[in-house]
């Protein structure tokens, strides 16, 4: 990979995305081995810097690094620097001075990884910044979609839920529209960000916006549900969980509007009965756990491409 950092999907070219996905595919067989370790990144130091609660993303990066024999150190930022008044830039420079090769950062402020990247020699991977981007999630979603459908082009993908506050939605919209897939972004009007149709620039014709879940799901190849964050309730984005599920929850009946065999995705952790019914989440077409497995492969691929070659 020619880039120093992986900060977002928006700036990536299709061939760069394919390089990551193809590498991830070749990494997949490692997870089936009895001894899941290769020496590829021996002697490399990867620091995960998380200032937001996250179990799956952090663990996924940690496993990916360890299977590649990198030394992975986990730093929870809220408990160290932020409370001491140290700026993000100072934290980054400190880690850089410890000769970290790679910093994986999750931060509630959009753009925080970009500031870190400018201040460090270490390579920076954005593991989610504010409501901006979550590139490794979109890449693992793309790997899952490609495995299941055989393509990333010409599909209809419905993304349903809190689009306004979702970095997962933004990264997926960028990635899928780049490959010529039609994305239907669906949410309540209060959770739809303004001028969403303009964010992809030249690929805006591939992005469709609707408040109707039925319209979004109609003949879809992929249904991607987003997590409802309960703090949204106090800000009156919608009246109640019950009413939310009525209009934007994925029930078995609603799921049947999609194509037969359409896959059902969710970045997790899921709220059963809020945005997705249990029987759907656990049903035959749910690929939610495949996404988790793909996450490890994609993160191994990214670490390898940034540090290994």
């Amino acid at each position: 990979m020619k880039r120093k950092d992986l900060l977002g999907i928006r700036e990536l070219e299709c061939h760069e995305i394919l390089e990551i996905l193809d590498t991830a595919e070749s990494m997949q067989e490692l997870s089936a081995r009895p001894i899941k370790k290769v020496p590829t990144l021996r002697g490399k130091t990867v620091i995960t810097l998380f200032s937001e609660a996250s179990t799956r993303t952090r663990t996924s990066f940690e496993i990916a690094g360890k299977w590649l024999s990198a030394d992975v150190i986990n730093v929870v930022m809220t408990s160290s620097s932020a409370t001491k008044g140290e700026t993000l830039i100072d934290t980054a420079r400190t880690l850089d001075s410890m000769s970290a090769d790679c910093v994986v950062i999750r931060h509630p402020s959009s753009g925080a990884p970009h500031s870190i990247a400018r201040a460090t020699r270490a390579r920076v991977i954005n593991a989610g910044d504010g409501a901006h981007e979550h590139p490794t999630q979109a890449l693992l979603d793309a790997l899952t979609i490609r495995e299941r459908t055989g393509t990333l082009s010409g599909l209809k993908v419905a993304i349903v839920g809190d689009i306004a506050h979702s970095r997962v939605a933004r990264s997926n919209i960028h990635l899928l529209t780049k490959f010529g897939t039609d994305v239907w972004a669906c949410s309540a009007p209060t959770l739809m960000p303004v001028m969403l149709n303009e964010i992809t620039g030249e690929n805006s014709g591939r992005l469709h916006i609707t408040n109707s879940m039925d319209e979004a799901l109609d003949q879809a190849d992929v249904i991607m549900m987003l997590r409802v964050q309960f703090e949204r309730m106090s800000e009156s984005f919608f009246p109640s969980v019950r009413e939310y599920f009525r209009y934007y929850g994925l029930s078995r009946e609603r799921a049947s509007r999609a194509k037969t065999g359409a896959i059902i995705m969710h970045p997790g952790p899921i709220n059963r009965g809020v945005e997705i019914a249990s029987d759907v989440a656990d049903g035959a077409y749910s690929v939610i756990l495949d996404q988790v497995s793909a996450g490890v492969s994609v993160r191994m691929a990214i670490l390898y491409l940034l540090l290994g070659v």
Binding site: H107, S109, G111, G130, P193, V194, I199
Partner: protein, 421 residues
């Protein structure tokens, strides 16, 4: 102070002067305008330059008392004269805020002691700018304030703002509002539009400004108060001001150079120097602001000079404070960006600001205090923030090529800034 300014193009639209003549200054006042050349007093050769009534920036934050690590009255004054301003009006959001005559008196005294520019304090509308009860407005007027404003903390309580407009009539004092409905803008850090959606940053909708102006215009009409809109940023706000002026309301409006120069796209790389309030808005808004300047809807250009220490601007975009410096780039940006005749430019930077703030007028007439700005409208220069006189460095215009510059600033007949190449 005595001085002869020779051979400049002397322009004062209010006094209908536009001629290449000499200006004679004696004891800090203009003694003669014409071709009399007394011998034996210092000369300033203004050949090829414009000699104008001194420029006045009516929206500046000097940070003293309270945040002297970002700016002081002395350094802010130095930045002002380096930008061509003979005078500034200082917003009251100091620490403590300028809500009583003792703070006003301190600012006036400290400015006399340390600032090369004249400083006219603006008092708070409400005690501690909390929006709860009126500040000691009358006593502050006696101590030297020229207007009242809660600036960054707009008066949300309509009843209280009505009272402020009414009470200020007693002193014919303008009430300046930073128009922002704090409920609509809550949590916002940039203009709400395609860029905020793309970057995942919380937006400040244009409606936050528009609904506040709308309320205020109605209150201005019903109270007969004198109302000044700070830093207009939206198309609809410009339209409302235009309509209200046509109806004869006593209102005036200012715009900042950054709002007519940059759009929200400047935030793309999360540069905290592109973060200010009101935020940089859309192309359409920028066009409307320029149109508003050209057709006279907008009365004044003011910088909203808002210095912040670099430590604060190093924070994450959503945590960094709002505001940029602007005193030294305002004139260069206006001359570079706006296709205006020199007379109109002088109205926007000097004549109208003096009128809005009701200060004893200065200009190119005999007997006037010799507050003058000497301009080279064709000077090409590059703004280097490292050389700024301000204590702070938070400008998005570092390295920008500009055309047009103040090359001398004269206060009470004394050359307090000079840049002769």
């Amino acid at each position: 102070m005595d001085l002869v300014i020779r051979n400049g193009r002397v322009v004062d639209p209010k006094r209908n002067i536009d001629a290449v003549v000499d200006v004679v200054v004696r004891d800090g006042k203009i003694a003669a305008i014409g071709n009399s050349r007394p011998a034996g007093i210092p000369e300033f050769d203004a050949t090829g330059l414009v000699v104008a009534p001194g420029f006045f920036d009516i929206h500046v934050h000097l940070r003293e008392p309270g945040t002297e690590e970002a700016e002081t009255i002395a350094t802010g004054g130095a930045a002002a004269v380096a930008g061509g301003f003979v005078a500034v009006a200082a917003m009251p959001n100091t620490k403590p805020s300028n809500d009583n005559p003792s703070i006003t008196s301190y600012i006036v005294a400290e400015a006399k002691r340390s600032s090369p520019a004249l400083v006219f304090p603006i008092g708070a509308v409400t005690k501690e700018q909390k929006g709860e009860s009126l500040a000691e407005i009358g006593e502050m007027v006696e101590a030297g304030i020229v207007a009242i404003s809660d600036d960054g903390k707009p008066v949300m309580d309509g009843r209280l703002f009505r009272r402020a407009l009414e009470y200020a009539r007693l002193f014919d004092l303008p009430v300046i509002q930073h128009c922002e409905d704090l409920n609509l803008s809550k949590g916002g850090v940039m203009h709400e539009g395609a860029w905020s959606t793309r970057l995942g940053l919380k937006g400040i909708p244009s409606s936050a400004e528009d609904t506040m102006i709308s309320r205020d215009l109605i209150l201005t009409e019903t109270t007969g108060g004198k109302y000044h809109v700070a830093h207009l940023s939206t198309k609809r706000a410009v339209d409302m001001v235009r309509t209200a002026k046509a109806q004869g309301l006593r209102i005036s409006a200012e715009v900042t150079p950054h709002h007519f120069t940059l759009t929200d796209a400047a935030v793309a790389e999360f540069d905290t120097n592109a973060k200010m309030n009101p935020p940089l808005r859309s192309e359409e808004d920028v066009d409307a602001l320029r149109k508003g300047i050209l057709d006279g809807t907008i009365d004044a250009i003011a910088s909203d000079h808002a210095p912040h220490h670099i430590n604060l601007k190093m924070l994450e975009f959503d945590r960094a404070p709002f505001g940029i410096t602007g005193l030294e780039t305002a004139v260069g940006l206006a001359f570079s960006e706006l296709p205006l005749p020199i007379g109109r430019m002088i109205e926007l930077f000097s004549i109208n600001p003096q009128k809005i703030m009701r200060v004893s007028p200065w200009g190119l007439f005999e007997g006037s205090a010799a507050h003058l700005t000497v301009l080279d409208p064709n000077r090409k220069w590059k703004f280097d923030v490292a050389l700024s006189r301000s204590k702070s460095r938070n400008s998005p215009f570092n390295g920008r090529q500009l055309k047009g510059k103040a090359v001398a600033t004269i206060v009470n007949g004394k050359i307090v800034y000079e840049d002769r190449n």
